[in-house]
């Protein structure tokens, strides 16, 4: 991960060096895109979870539900506590919170994710610009060679 940043103007680099950097940058762009997508999916999950909370209202207390024992086996149950949910906070830890607390949690995590996505999007943009500059320089060098 520790790479030396070249502060050499890219025009001064040989075609081979340019191709090298281009390959590396393309790999980085690929990785960043994958990360961005993963963050996006995580944000979606939190949004879905927050929506799911809307099912639990004081009116739904006592309603019948189907409780999954496996992915294809359910048993009938009754909604008892419609004021609290137990949610996963990571590392196999779960916390019981009132509905409002759970909503706050999802909001908090979503905001964090958005911050991270913005950061990555910025870095991605920078790398994309580098890629474009590299391609332009390479094209110029190739056509200069042909003359």
């Amino acid at each position: 991960m520790a790479e030396q940043q070249k502060s050499i103007p890219i025009g001064a680099l040989s075609l081979e060096e340019l191709m090298n950097i281009r390959q590396r940058t393309e790999a980085e762009v690929e990785q960043l895109s994958v990360s961005l997508e993963a963050l996006n999916m995580a944000a979606e999950k939190f949004a879905d979870a927050k929506d799911a909370l809307n099912v639990l209202t004081p009116a739904s207390k006592g309603k019948e539900v189907l409780v999954p024992l496996t992915s294809s086996l359910y048993v009938p149950g009754v909604l008892d506590d419609t004021e609290h949910v137990t949610l996963s906070v990571g590392a196999n830890y779960y916390v019981k919170k009132p509905i409002k607390g759970a909503q706050d949690y999802f909001d908090r995590r979503t905001v964090e994710l958005q911050g991270q996505m913005e950061q990555i999007a910025k870095i991605l943009q920078g790398k994309q610009q580098l890629l474009n500059a590299l391609m332009d320089t390479m094209r110029a060098k190739i056509s200069a060679q042909r003359q």
Binding site: S88, V89, G90, A91, Y93, Y94, V95, K96, K97
Partner: protein, 127 residues
Amino acid sequence: DARRAQASMQQQLEAESNVFRRYQKQIEQCQEARQRLYTQRTENELVAKELSLLEGDAEVFKMVGPLLVRQDSEEARGNVTKRLEYITAEIKRTEDQMKEAEENANKQKEKLMAMMQAARGGQVPRQ
């Protein structure tokens, strides 16, 4: 005998190259381990933050196999803190290992280059 000397030099070169590859592999393994540890650290930091935001009477559970087991929130906080300390120590240890492997690899690379130079030097034909 020039040919025998050359063959043995080839063997030596190959042996030293293998040593170099071994160091490179070590570096790679350290990088992978460190990446895993970084992920664990981030996850546990998140948990620590959530646990610190809890109100006094909030219920905390730990998933042990298929069971959710009730834990005292103070105890949970303590456990997560301890885990974070362990992970941080492991990261340091892995980084030290990686530095050592990198130093070994660099020394080995220089050794190999010197050997290749010497091999080339012995091949200059006499005019």
